[in-house]
């Protein structure tokens, strides 16, 4: 694809410059690549100013940049200007990506119950099991060894990677991607302690609903509750190895980074972003738009729009003010000891003053 056409499709402005007598709009682009790895024929991008200094050395034929800035180093290649270079990059990758297309149809080494309904144009790999009464939408791609339990409902255009488990009765909306090994609808961790110290299982058979456009990472587990439901609202993206406890509600467009854990019955509202390894306790509410930095431990409700950090979590500004002092604690301790020493000396002197004629 030549650069002029690419600019149009990415909604970017091509900076009009001629090089070596050749108009840049005619440059042929064959691939998208990172700034350091790019070769002639590649399109690259800078969305983080950290990488600006690498621009002058890139071999790429074109680069996607944000609005012009006086700090911009000279580019050795054509420039595509975008108001949001990261989005333009995402669109470019989608244009050039050639995902390995799975073969169409239903593999003969799959085990699909007789009463399963499957929409148009499916792709179902070998060793896939689909239980009784399940329904699968149109154009769904199911990679090998996926297990879909009885009564599961899956919408259109979903993509289930290898080894995914969708347990009985779970409901998935449209355009959902589930990465390899994820488990949706496993039993919540609910036990009632008996007088003899043993724990009886509280049966966990209630609903799990994953709404449209959700993505669920590899080996993530989403539990089902005893009563009520576990629900992930539309457009939320969940990274690898995340734990969603039973009865949790995660709002729309939330982002949960890898190894996040959310304990039972907690409500995470819309547009929340949780950094890697964040933990949230059970039965609390995380307000709309809350952000938590990596490894934060949230032990109570968090008001909408706040940025929290630390364990137990604090508003980020407060946490930073205290955290910066942690490395000065030995010095602070020394200063307190000096103060104590000086006060003792002062007290001694004052005592001498009070008894001059002893």
């Amino acid at each position: 694809m030549n650069l002029r056409e690419l600019a149009e499709r990415l909604n970017c402005r091509l900076e009009e410059q001629d090089v070596d007598g050749r108009h840049r709009g005619d440059v042929e682009i064959v691939r998208v690549a990172g700034i350091d790895q790019a070769c002639p024929g590649d399109l690259t991008f800078i969305s983080n100013s950290k990488y600006r200094s690498r621009l002058s050395a890139t071999q790429a034929s074109a680069v996607i940049l944000g609005p012009p800035s006086p700090d911009d180093p000279p580019a050795p290649c054509a420039i595509l200007r975008s108001d949001d270079p990261y989005v333009a990059f995402a669109l470019a990758v989608r244009l050039f990506a050639r995902p390995a297309a799975p073969s169409r149809g239903i593999d003969r080494l799959s085990a699909i119950a007789a009463d399963v309904t499957i929409g148009a144009d499916p792709s179902i790999g070998p060793f896939v099991t689909i239980g009784a009464g399940a329904s699968i939408g149109a154009r769904v791609i199911i990679y090998p060894s996926v297990v879909i339990g009885p009564g599961v409902r899956i919408g259109d255009d979903c993509l289930l990677h290898a080894g995914v488990s969708i347990r009985e009765g779970v409901i998935l909306g449209h355009r959902i991607t589930v990465l390899d090994g994820a488990v949706i609808g496993s039993d919540g961790f609910g036990f009632a302690k008996q007088p003899d110290g043993t724990h009886i299982k509280i049966p966990q058979h209630a609903d799990v609903v994953i709404e449209d456009d959700v993505e669920i990472g590899a080996n993530t587990a989403i539990d089902r509750p005893a009563v009520g439901e576990t629900r992930i609202h539309a457009g939320t993206k969940i990274d690898n190895l995340v734990q969603i406890g039973h009865g949790v509600t995660v709002g729309s467009r939330a982002l949960l980074a890898a190894q996040v854990g959310i304990a039972g019955s907690t409500v995470v509202e819309d547009d929340v972003m949780l950094g890697g390894q964040v933990g949230v306790t059970g039965h609390v509410r995380i307000g709309k738009g809350v952000m938590a930095s990596a490894k934060t431990g949230i032990t109570g409700n968090v008001e909408a729009g706040t940025l929290v950090s630390g364990y137990p979590s604090l508003p980020n500004r407060e946490w930073r003010k205290s955290q910066v002092l942690v490395r000065h604690l030995p010095d602070l301790k020394k200063r307190v000891a000096e103060l104590e020493q000086r006060i003792a000396e002062l007290e001694e002197k004052l005592a001498e003053c009070r008894t001059p004629d002893r």
Binding site: V147, G181, F189, K193, Q194, H205, N219, D223, A263
Partner: protein, 344 residues
């Protein structure tokens, strides 16, 4: 079922109309007429006043309500668990041996075993009576699985692992994977230490989705009877976990550590290798337990310290800027005083 009959079966005291018909169990907020519900936490008491449920299970001290019938239990949580077992809409597991499974000729299957599609059972493996194995489970050669177990999809039981009776393994659990053991060589590479020793899971253990339990090079990794392990937990090689232990999600326990009976660990805890966690110890969420903990202790934090100390220290953490300022103020005031009193 009539409420009075249910009261009897759940061993609860009935308050209100015993002739109400109960058809299901539901959460306080979603319950409809005919549902039995449960007051899980005092903070939901306000929802009780608005519930449409026909009856509610409460503890001995909860206030009564005329909104619906009341089943009063000494242990409301257990009564709720039993009610769910009565009313739950369970999906019956598959019956029989699926023809799309691969079972070694010398594997031994007990009566009424169910094996789903694409299950592999290795040579000389044995599976006890009534055990249910869901699709795509792999059971390695020589593994021994007891009676009445449930193995959900994609479970991997590696060679020679021993599993007791009534064990529940959720989807994607791996038992008997190689421990993380390497010997560093002079050239900086790491030589694999073969990990072929035993793993034993005793009776009534439940293990959550995608948890991994490693095998050691020598000795054994053992999970004792009645222990419940949540999703995504990592148990390293040579660890011993006691009886009736509860480990919440994403906890990790490093090699050769011994966890006593009745220990509780909250989510995302990490425990160092070669330490001993005494009987009945509680560990707060996200703690890093670096050293042994005496029986009955309650520790939290990174590194984990006594829970009450940790709470006090955490409270002071947010006051550090004001403490620093107070020290500065005191230094100034003291300097002024010293000037006033004169040179030493």
């Amino acid at each position: 079922m009539k409420l009075k009959e249910l009261a009897e079966r759940l061993d609860c005291r009935l308050e209100g109309d015993g002739d109400v018909e109960i058809v299901g169990v539901a959460a306080l907020q979603q319950a409809q007429r005919g549902d039995l519900t449960f007051l899980a936490h005092a903070k939901y008491a306000a929802d009780l006043a608005r519930t449409n449920a026909s009856a509610v299970i409460v503890g001995p001290d909860a206030p009564s309500t005329d909104r619906c019938g009341v089943l009063r239990a000494d242990d409301p949580y257990s009564a709720f668990a039993r009610a769910l077992a009565i009313f739950a809409r369970t999906t019956p597991p598959p019956k029989g041996i699926d023809r799309l499974s691969a079972i070694a000729a010398d594997a031994v299957l007990g009566p009424d075993v169910s094996l789903g599609s694409f299950v592999t059972v290795g040579a000389r493996a044995s599976i006890g009576a009534r055990t249910i194995v869901y699709p795509n489970v792999v059971i390695g050669p020589g593994a021994a699985i007891g009676d009445d177990c449930t193995l959900h999809s994609h479970v991997s039981i590696r060679e020679r692992v021993v599993i007791g009776n009534r064990v529940i393994l959720h989807d994607g659990v791996v038992i008997g994977s190689d421990g993380f053991g390497f010997a560093r060589q002079a050239d900086g590479t790491h030589l694999k230490i073969p990990q072929h020793a035993e793993v034993v899971i005793e009776d009534d253990v439940e293990i959550g989705a995608n948890a991994a339990i490693d095998r050691p090079p020598v000795g054994e990794t053992r999970i004792k009877a009645g222990t419940k392990i949540d999703n995504l937990v990592h148990i390293a090689h040579g660890v011993s976990i006691g009886r009736r232990v509860l480990l919440a999600a994403q906890t990790g326990i490093a090699g050769s550590t011994i966890v006593g009976d009745d220990v509780w660990m909250a989510g995302q805890c990490g425990v160092n290798d070669h330490v001993r966690i005494g009987n009945g110890v509680k560990v707060g969420a996200k703690s890093a337990v670096l050293q042994s903990v005496d029986a009955g202790g309650f520790v939290t934090g990174h590194p984990a310290i006594d829970h009450r100390e940790w709470r006090r220290a955490s409270a002071i953490f947010r006051r550090l800027p004001s403490i620093k300022k107070r020290v500065e103020d005191h230094e100034q005031r003291l300097a002024a005083l010293e000037k006033h009193v004169g040179p030493r």
